[in-house]
């Protein structure tokens, strides 16, 4: 890439990760040096201090989601939490059945462990989604069988921002007597999350999506009505009541709790601000450009998320033109697999729109100036690339691209 030091850098990839809030960092710092103890050291003050910090954090996180302290398992992040939920439940409840249900737009940290279980003889039902990214609740209801041990449906989608009706899904699972896991990585600290009201039995979340540090997550595991039991995935010391062995990441855990506390201080106010930045960006882009398609649900959508397909231009070439703007694309050329986004494909938008997609995500530190600069550069890049796009030319000539015989390669 060209020299990036000369250009203003605008970060619009808050759904990938967020900067650590300075207040979170301040809360964490004492636990790297002065209070560096191992929370499992039971016979000196270093250990006691660390344990106290962990337990205070655990209590504050539990209170925030309507849980009790003993229901919070600390992990290394949402990927580990998701693996522990899927694999841990599957192995513990094997005598009950060998069927789990999830959906096509889940994060790979759900889909991959689920696929792994298929190799172990499990049956996995992957529910499809409609054009907005929603599952059909009746389809979910009828997919739940006698031998279904777990339903895992994410709260907010990381690519398209679609928010699933978690309370309704939780109620269906409760009624049917199957456990319900949700990946709330994109929503904790942002949307309303309450494990009681929403009938959530297991829930994953991560600190680094809400202005906390990377490398720390939680798995909420319900202990009453019903009591959820897990077969551990990681063995070695029996930490976290045997659910997850390994020395606790004390500064990370303190950072998680502080980050969540800050998010909840004025959750609705912050979400309103974030949505206003997103809406400003969306309006500027769609006012200036035609043939822009919104991916996801216009309404039931994360406040930070704006996933747009700019028809007739390819995502990676757009990123090349948007110097200094940090965003993501669903284009194949930007992925390690060279496949376009499976989430967008699941919506049925067509591969060509997946190749043309850009995910903008705004956050706490986004400014109007940044939004305007990003919008200007995006508009200029789309216009420049459309001027050299054979597809745009054909569309302007009135040719229906879907009727063209392409040669492929």
């Amino acid at each position: 890439m060209s020299d990036s030091s000369q250009e203003p850098q605008v970060y619009l990839d808050y759904q990938a990760t967020t900067p650590v809030d300075p207040k979170v960092l301040s809360a964490m710092l004492p636990y790297f040096q002065g209070h560096f103890g191992n929370a499992a050291s039971r016979n000196h003050s270093f250990g006691w201090d660390a344990e106290k910090a962990v337990e205070n954090s655990r209590k504050s996180i539990a209170d925030a989601i309507g849980a009790s302290s003993r229901e919070i398992v600390f992990t290394s992040g949402a990927t580990e939490s998701n693996n522990l939920a899927i694999l841990g439940v599957a192995r513990m409840y094997k005598p009950k059945g060998k069927h789990i249900i999830t959906c096509a737009t889940e994060h790979k940290a759900i889909l991959d462990p689920a696929q792994y279980l298929v190799k172990e003889g499990w049956e996995v039902t992957i529910l499809g989604v409609d054009a907005n990214g929603h599952i059909d609740l009746d389809e979910l209801r009828s997919a739940i069988r006698e031998d279904t041990v777990l339903v895992s449906i994410m709260h907010g989608n990381n690519e398209i921002g679609t928010i699933h009706p978690i309370a309704e899904i939780g109620a269906i699972c409760r009624e049917k007597g199957t456990l319900f896991h949700t990946d709330a990585t994109q929503t904790l600290g942002k949307e309303e999350v309450n494990v009681q009201d929403m009938n959530i039995d297991l829930m994953s979340a991560s600190a680094h999506k809400m202005y906390g540090p990377k490398g720390v997550g939680i798995l909420y595991v319900r202990r009453r009505n019903p009591r959820v039991r897990l077969e551990p995935v990681q063995h070695g010391g029996g930490h976290e009541r045997g659910a997850r062995s390994g020395t606790l990441n004390v500064p990370g855990i303190v950072g998680f709790a502080k980050a969540l506390e800050l998010c909840l201080e004025d959750r609705e106010g912050e979400q309103k601000f974030v949505a206003s930045m997103r809406d400003r960006l969306q309006k500027r882009l769609t006012d200036a450009l035609d043939h822009v398609h919104l991916n996801g649900d216009e309404n039931a959508r994360l406040a930070c998320n704006l996933n747009l397909s700019f028809a007739f231009v390819e995502g990676e070439s757009m990123l090349m033109g948007m110097h200094g703007i940090a965003v993501s694309s669903g284009s194949a050329c930007t992925s390690a697999s060279l496949e376009p986004s499976y989430v967008l494909r699941a919506l049925g938008v067509g591969d060509e729109l997946a190749h043309s997609s850009i995910r903008f995500s705004v956050g706490r530190f986004t400014t109007e100036e940044e939004v305007d600069h990003a919008a200007d550069l995006t508009i200029a890049t789309v216009n420049k690339l459309r001027a050299m796009s054979p597809l745009y030319e054909m569309a302007m000539e009135g040719i229906d691209l879907s009727t063209v015989q392409w040669s492929g390669h």
Partner: protein, 126 residues
């Protein structure tokens, strides 16, 4: 994707963007690729006395697809039909220092050249 300076230069300053009259007898057009694959190249040549006088392209695709087709038009201009048939994708890969995952962009450019040449030649037969 970290690209070579040459790819970035072709992306920033694409040579010979545009279209020629595809129905003209002295114009050959090649359109290769597919939107669902993420790249479509249109490459056109205008031939006078067996020499390519003009070459134009339009490309939907990533930076290296744009650069490959831009470079192809640069190379085509002034070449005879015979010389043009000798352009190989490996030459494009070498010139642009394309990474392995982008080699297919150069293949597409070679295909576009061949198709444009054969379109021109079929027009001459009729």
């Amino acid at each position: 994707m970290v690209y070579s300076e040459k790819v970035i230069d072709h992306y920033e300053n694409p040579r010979n963007v545009g279209s020629l009259d595809k129905d003209a007898d002295d114009v050959g057009t090649g359109i290769v690729g597919a939107p669902e694959c993420g790249d479509v190249m249109k490459l056109q040549i205008q031939v006078e006395d067996g020499v390519i006088k003009e070459a134009k392209f339009k490309t939907f695709g990533c930076g290296s697809a744009i650069a490959s087709s831009s470079l192809a038009t640069e190379w085509l201009k002034g070449k005879t039909i015979e010389e043009a048939t000798e352009i190989r994708n490996v030459d494009i890969v070498e010139e642009l220092a394309l990474p392995p995952v982008k080699i297919h962009c150069s293949v597409l450019a070679e295909d576009a050249i061949k198709q444009a040449l054969s379109d021109y030649e079929s027009k001459q037969e009729n």
